[in-house]
């Protein structure tokens, strides 16, 4: 008997200081669904070189909107890890 496990791919974007730390601006991350933004952040910190230095609970956005870490993600979502914003 075979367990069918759904997985999804999200595009993760890095900005400013975080992009410098990770050494890239975008990465594709595969997660088992259902998944939260917090799950994505964990995978990023485990899988990407340099990403260990990211905070465990960064500011995050999904599809251009601020979300909390318990927000769910879908296949194809754009997830962003945002350093503290300093606009204006």
């Amino acid at each position: 008997m075979q367990l069918s496990v759904a997985s999804g791919t999200v595009r993760v974007q890095f900005f400013a200081r975080y992009a410098e730390m990770v050494g890239c601006r975008e990465a594709a991350i595969v997660v088992t669904l259902p998944a939260t933004v917090g799950d994505v952040v964990r995978r990023v910190r485990e899988e990407l070189p340099g990403a260990r230095g990211l905070p465990e609970r960064p500011l995050t956005a999904v599809n251009l909107k601020h979300v909390k870490l318990d927000a769910s993600v879908q296949d194809g979502d754009e997830v962003a890890l945002l350093p503290p914003v300093a606009g204006g």
């Binding site: 900005f15 400013a16 251009l64 601020h66 945002l82 914003v85 606009g87 204006g88």
Partner: protein, 161 residues
């Protein structure tokens, strides 16, 4: 239309977007790159953004102004890229029938921008170093990076440094 631009900002152009004879009070805010005694020789600030989200967030803030102050109209532009000291990075204009609404809504827009809009700044110093600025307005403790930042996405697209 985008609320982000790489060009110098003009209050007059924004005034044209929001003014009308019913709205007798207009409050504007300009945020300029500061080089004062606290700034230790800042020649410019390089602003970068999560462009699509910054644009969406600015649009949401303007919608909130319409909900809270239905008779007011607000306009905003955020400049990104390298902005020399003394030049403006943000321009906000709010016109309303009465001045109290104009002041309150203008203040609301700048406070929400500081809180929510994904924009980051790196101070470029006289001595050639560059330092990420944290939202408290203080440089971060991470070591200065003396090379130009590759992280202004619009800059890349448009071929600017």
């Amino acid at each position: 239309m985008s609320f982000l631009t790489r060009s110098p900002l003009s209050l007059d152009a924004l005034l044209g977007e929001v003014s009308s004879p019913e709205r007798g009070g207009t409050c504007a805010f300009l945020g300029t790159v500061r080089n004062g005694p606290e700034e230790h020789g800042v020649t410019a600030i390089e602003y970068s953004a999560y462009d699509e989200m910054a644009d969406a967030e600015l649009g949401r803030i303007l919608s909130e102004v319409r909900e809270r102050w239905p008779q007011a109209r607000a306009g905003v532009r955020h400049r990104i890229g390298k902005i020399p000291a003394g030049e403006a990075s943000i321009a906000i204009v709010v016109a309303a029938p009465h001045r109290a609404q104009a002041f309150e809504a203008c203040r609301y827009v700048i406070e929400e921008i500081k809180r929510r809009v994904p924009v980051w700044k790196r101070e470029l110093r006289l001595d050639g170093t560059a330092v990420w600025v944290d939202p408290s307005g203080q440089p971060t403790t991470s070591p200065p990076v003396p090379t130009p930042s590759p992280f202004s996405r619009l800059a890349e697209r448009e071929g600017h440094v």
